[in-house]
């Protein structure tokens, strides 16, 4: 198999806690692979391990045929990174940020200069070329960070929550760009806790919780493997009472969360007939999605 990243049994312990606990991954060329999980699931630590920024307590990593972290430097020549937190150079313009970053890869000024128009175009920042970073909007900064990650024309791009904090327009533009990258054969590894992002972008996903991968596959496989295909959400003050008395008879499984009841079914027909008997209840019938899978696998309670 043409795998770009292979990780076996990664373990990372911080202060006695197994932040990454036995993770194995194989990511192939040209795919967009997503690490999905609640805050603190170990997604960012996994990325840092794969990049060789930290050393695992045990386990084995290969990135672009280089052993990690031993030969991380060589591997990173062919890798781009979009970090979770903005770390652009605030003293520099858009173009200067790209120039300075390219030099870290040992590129000559002429070769970076030659790539600038294409990178600026890709980031929709051609008109902002000589503008200083602090005056850019959040979406522009993200796009610049993405362009910066591409300065060395990498084979693999790591993105840690690439659209967190962006408005919908900015987010859609980033998604479009990421799809263009996979269309060009780049391999993407991203972390996210946005289900729509994972569903739209990722060919394959690993759902993480408590440092482990609890399910892995394409978005469709994850839904098919983990959950009933139909969901009916029932709302209203009487929803909880209705659920207590009737839901079990018409569903494979149901969960009550506040004034909403989530009913999971293979065939929604009998349930919908039942609900029509209860005009006091409102409901929505929809196919199961990744968020249902995610909540089933990682639970509904808050993670803080």
């Amino acid at each position: 198999m043409n795998s770009v990243i292979r990780a076996e049994n990664l373990l990372k312990i911080y202060a006695g806690q197994r932040v990454v606990d036995g993770i194995s991954l194989a990511i192939v060329r040209g795919e967009c692979f997503g690490l999905l999980g609640p805050n603190g699931a170990g997604k960012t630590t996994t990325l840092r391990l794969l990049l060789g920024l930290i050393a695992p307590d045990s386990g084995h990593i290969e990135l672009l045929n280089h052993a990690i972290p031993g030969n991380a430097r060589e591997a990173r020549l062919r890798v781009g990174v979009v970090p979770q937190m903005d770390n652009l150079d605030p003293d520099f313009t858009v173009a200067e940020n790209l120039m300075v970053y390219g030099r870290y890869f040992g590129m000559t000024d002429a070769s970076i200069e030659a790539r600038l128009p294409e990178l600026l175009e890709f980031a929709n920042l051609t008109h902002k070329r000589d503008v200083k970073v602090p005056t850019l909007s959040g979406g522009m900064k993200r796009r610049l960070t993405l362009a910066r990650a591409l300065v060395n024309d990498p084979d693999v791009i790591f993105l840690d929550e690439p659209t967190t904090g962006l408005d919908p327009q900015a987010r859609h533009l980033i998604w479009q760009r990421l799809r263009e990258l996979t269309a060009r054969g780049k391999t993407l590894v991203l972390t996210t806790h946005f289900m729509d992002e994972a569903e739209r972008l990722c060919h394959r996903l690993a759902v993480m919780d408590n440092g482990r991968i609890i399910s892995q596959g394409s978005p469709r496989e994850l839904i098919a493997d983990n959950i009933e295909p139909q969901v009916v959400e029932v709302f209203g003050e009487q929803a909880a009472d209705w659920a207590k008395n009737h839901a079990a008879n018409h569903t494979e499984r149901f969960e009550t969360s506040g004034e909403s009841v989530f009913c999971y079914v293979r065939d929604a027909h009998p349930l919908l007939l039942e609900l029509q008997q209860h005009p006091e209840l409102r409901y929505v019938h929809r196919p199961a999605n990744l968020e249902d899978v995610f909540l089933k696998l990682t639970g509904r309670e808050m993670r803080e």
Binding site: L53, M85, N87, V100
Partner: protein, 261 residues
């Protein structure tokens, strides 16, 4: 990054693009920076040199302002490197996350720490040249030996940059740096012969003084500005270089630990 915090540093020229980055940032604010490097020593030398010096007889066979000029070179270069390694270094490491961005490229932490040391030493070099110009203009030194102040400024810079980075590696925030300046830098200024000869101090303090790097910087600078070859120049250079090397290694180990979190 190393699995082993204590591995010896791996030196390469990869630190040069980072040095260049810092130079690009500095260039944008070069005016105020150069003014600071010039104004500070001028104010000290004129104020103390003529003000205080007018009341004093010759010290060690020279006018007080000439005596003070050697101290000022060392004190200014020490301060330049220290401020850069502490405040600006901390901003790059912590606040602006510049290091984090660089570590995602084929540059290692060893390269980054080396770049910080050479960059801070470059600021010392600039500061040393600025003070030397003032000394020449005031007619306080005439001999070509005074040109040795230029490489000395770089060495003093390397020494205090490395020591300063140890503090940066340990610092939780900017407030922490007050400890270093109040408990280390200021006493060092008073113990090392910047403002008055070390032999004015009680014997015990003289012993401490002999171990401090700034004393050895002053021991080199003062004769060089007075047209003489420093008596123990090998020892003085060795002490300054020794502090630089130990500081580099210790700070690197501390940064490796800090960034592994």
């Amino acid at each position: 990054m190393s699995k082993n915090y204590f591995a010896l540093p791996q030196l390469s020229l990869r630190f040069l693009p980072i040095w260049r980055r810092n130079y690009m940032v500095w260039k944008k604010m070069a005016g105020p920076s150069i003014l600071g490097h010039l104004a500070d020593p001028v104010i000290y030398m004129l104020g103390l040199g003529y003000g205080l010096g007018g009341m004093l007889p010759e010290i060690s066979g020279m006018s007080y302002i000439a005596f003070l000029s050697a101290g000022t070179v060392c004190y200014s270069t020490m301060n330049s490197a220290s401020f850069e390694a502490l405040y600006s270094g901390f901003a790059r490491m912590h606040e602006q996350r510049t290091w984090e961005a660089i570590l995602n490229t084929p540059i290692t932490l060893d390269d980054i720490v080396l770049s910080e040391i050479f960059w801070a030493a470059s600021k010392s070099l600039l500061s040393g040249i600025a003070v030397l110009l003032v000394i020449w203009i005031l007619g306080l030194a005439h001999s070509p030996l005074s040109l040795w102040i230029i490489p000395l400024s770089l060495l003093v810079g390397l020494c205090f940059a490395s020591l300063g980075l140890i503090v940066t590696a340990l610092a939780p925030g900017y407030e922490f740096f007050m400890y270093y300046f109040t408990l280390v830098i200021t006493p060092m200024t008073l113990l090392c012969g910047v403002f008055f000869p070390v032999d004015q101090l009680p014997a015990m303090l003289q012993t401490i003084s002999a171990m401090l790097p700034l004393t050895h910087a002053v021991d080199l600078a003062r004769p060089l500005l007075n047209n003489a070859i420093p008596v123990n120049f090998m020892t003085d250079i060795a002490v300054l270089a020794g502090y630089a090397l130990v500081g580099f290694y210790v700070s690197l180990v501390l940064f490796r630990k800090r960034l592994a979190q």
